[in-house]
Amino acid sequence: MTTLLLIEQVLNGLQAGIMLFLMAAGLTLIFGVMGLINLAHGSLYMIGAFAAAAVAAATGSFLLALFASLVAAAAAGVVIELAVIRRLYDRDHLDQVLATFALILILSEGTRWLFGSFPLYLDVPTILSGPVILPGGIAYPAYRLVIILVGLAVAAGLFLLIGRTRIGIQIRAGEADREMIAALGVNISALYTMVFALGAALAGLAGALVGAIQSVQVGMGEPVLILAFVVIVIGGIGSIKGALVGALLVGLTDTLGGVLLPLALGGLMDASSATSIGSAVASMLIYVLMAVVLIFRPTGLYGTA
């Protein structure tokens, strides 16, 4: 493998990590502030993608579609929070897991009922459809570069929001002590609804952005949900920084493992078993990574007990 190809694969790994970060950021934010495990986060991702596909089909505008994904996912988030989620804050993790698992069933099949059983069409805007040539001569899809930029912008925005703004102070106070923040006169339930909607909007945006280069279909949220959980657990639940680092680690491990393992094994055995065994091990690799991180740091890289 040439160095140039290796660099391109590293770029691919980073890009996969950024896509995961978009999803994981909302998940970790919701957990950090409200202590809630939300399995239905993947459904919000799916809702964002479907809303984008529907609006893009109706208007032909990708920007409108992105906007629609934010609005639809945030609106769905508000409805879900008001109807179900707010009853779960005081419950243990087990009840949260089950209730949000039930939400997955309802939202997935509801979406299928509305949009049918066939995948929808959503494509990248024409202006971003081709590759651009990076320094060193790597041809890289323009749209993926845009995803990297959007992801980094979202990360920066979140750090600013949490670190520099009044709402961020309230969020951090809420993480530390619910009663304290309520005593300070902040409307805690409105704050929670807002944080949930923000997390949902991020998931929806991720769904729309990623949906344009993947398949917009029912059930698309579940694999990425599991990955997002792997990410935030590696990073330490509740930490935005952890989510970013975890996402990049997972993206790199997954991408480079799939490419390098079969090559590495090729030296030890014949080509076809190296491919097959290498691929088998590569598909387990991120879970191995997560288990190893937790064994040495039981609360993740940046987590607190």
């Binding site: 993790h93 299928r112 937790l294 039981p298």
Partner: protein, 328 residues
């Protein structure tokens, strides 16, 4: 109608064989098959319940043991079917179609896996424990999918159900009786464990780990032992499930499977010995009835589940029984 919990438990527990016997009288073998399925899934959840209900260990990876039990059956029976011994490197093992031997292997393998996974996973707690157990489940799932020796994603078909001395296991009612006997024996065992000194210590460790340490006991060891017993029982259920279907596949390792076990426990009533049994029966019943209602029946299933979690916190048993379930 409110009944004392003990009476209710007996009624609910006997409902299962009653259904099977009525189905036999009406010549509806499929109902017996459904009852068998419910009993096996209940057994798997009864296993998990020791770790989850009594020990407070929310494992989202119990499908690992279920799948290992299933593959123990599948691998042994497939080698018996093809008359080729199983080569384990150091020694070879003949395949077998005998259930008692298969059960022994299933229990041993899943207990050993539970020991290794427990040693690593029990270093974490809370959400991290949920997620690390999930991670182990996913490892096994992807491994079996891409491991070609025993069918990969296609799984492994065993054309004839394995044998049990003195029984014709192909007869639905006899197989049901066997499964129900195993379930009853395990429930009895679990009831004893709950009331034993180990059970007391494990339950106390869930409520307050410091208390248990302060009387000189190690919560880690208590939990590890509970996890191993729990995994072994779920593994046994896996072997039976594979025999019911005469088929094993990687879906037995999927995280949805682990999730369903938890659903059974919560549906029936958490921390109750018979909770998983009631939950599994109800789930199988709902699945059977709702799937005919519409293509979108999973919406209704989700709604039922949501309502139980939000509004019926003691599960079905909690809603039907008066008083709270105390293990005295």
């Amino acid at each position: 109608m409110m009944l004392p919990e003990r009476t209710l438990n007996i009624i609910l527990f006997l409902a299962l064989p009653l259904v099977a016997v009525i189905a036999l009288a009406l010549d509806e073998p499929f109902i017996i098959t459904l009852a068998t399925r419910a009993a096996i899934l209940a057994l798997a959840a009864v296993g998990l319940n020791l770790a989850l209900g009594l020990g407070g260990l929310v494992s989202l990876g119990h499908a690992v043991f279920f799948g290992l039990g299933g593959y123990a059956m599948g691998i042994l029976a497939s080698h018996a079917q093809s008359f080729t011994p199983l080569d384990l490197g150091l020694f070879t093992l003949d395949g077998t179609k005998s259930m008692p031997i298969i059960w022994l292997v299933a229990v041993t393998v899943s207990a050993f896996a539970a020991l290794l996974i427990g040693l690593l996973a029990l270093r974490t707690a809370g959400v991290y424990f949920i997620m690390i157990t999930l991670a182990f489940g996913q490892m096994f799932y992807y491994f079996t999918i891409s491991w070609p020796a025993y069918g990969g994603e296609d799984g492994l078909s065993i054309y004839v159900r394995n044998s049990f001395p003195g029984l014709n296991t192909l007869d639905p009612i006899q197989f049901f009786a066997l499964v129900f006997g195993v379930l009853a024996a395990v429930l009895w065992l679990m009831g004893r464990i709950e009331r034993s000194s180990f059970g007391l210590a494990l339950g106390s460790a869930r409520q307050n780990a410091v208390r248990v340490e302060t009387v000189g006991l190690s919560p880690f060891r208590l939990r590890l032992v509970a996890f191993v017993i729990s995994g072994a029982v779920t593994g046994l259920a896996g072997a039976l499930f594979a025999d019911l279907n005469r088929f094993v596949s990687p879906t037995m390792f999927s995280w949805q499977m682990s999730g369903e076990f938890i659903v059974f426990i919560v549906l029936g009533g958490i921390g109750r010995l018979y909770g998983p049994v009631v939950g599994a029966c109800l789930f199988v019943l709902l699945e059977h009835m709702l799937s005919g209602v519409s293509d979108f029946w999973l919406i209704y299933l989700g709604a039922v589940l949501l309502l139980v979690v939000l509004f019926a916190r003691g599960g079905v048993i909690g809603a039907l029984a008066n008083g709270r379930g105390v293990h005295d």
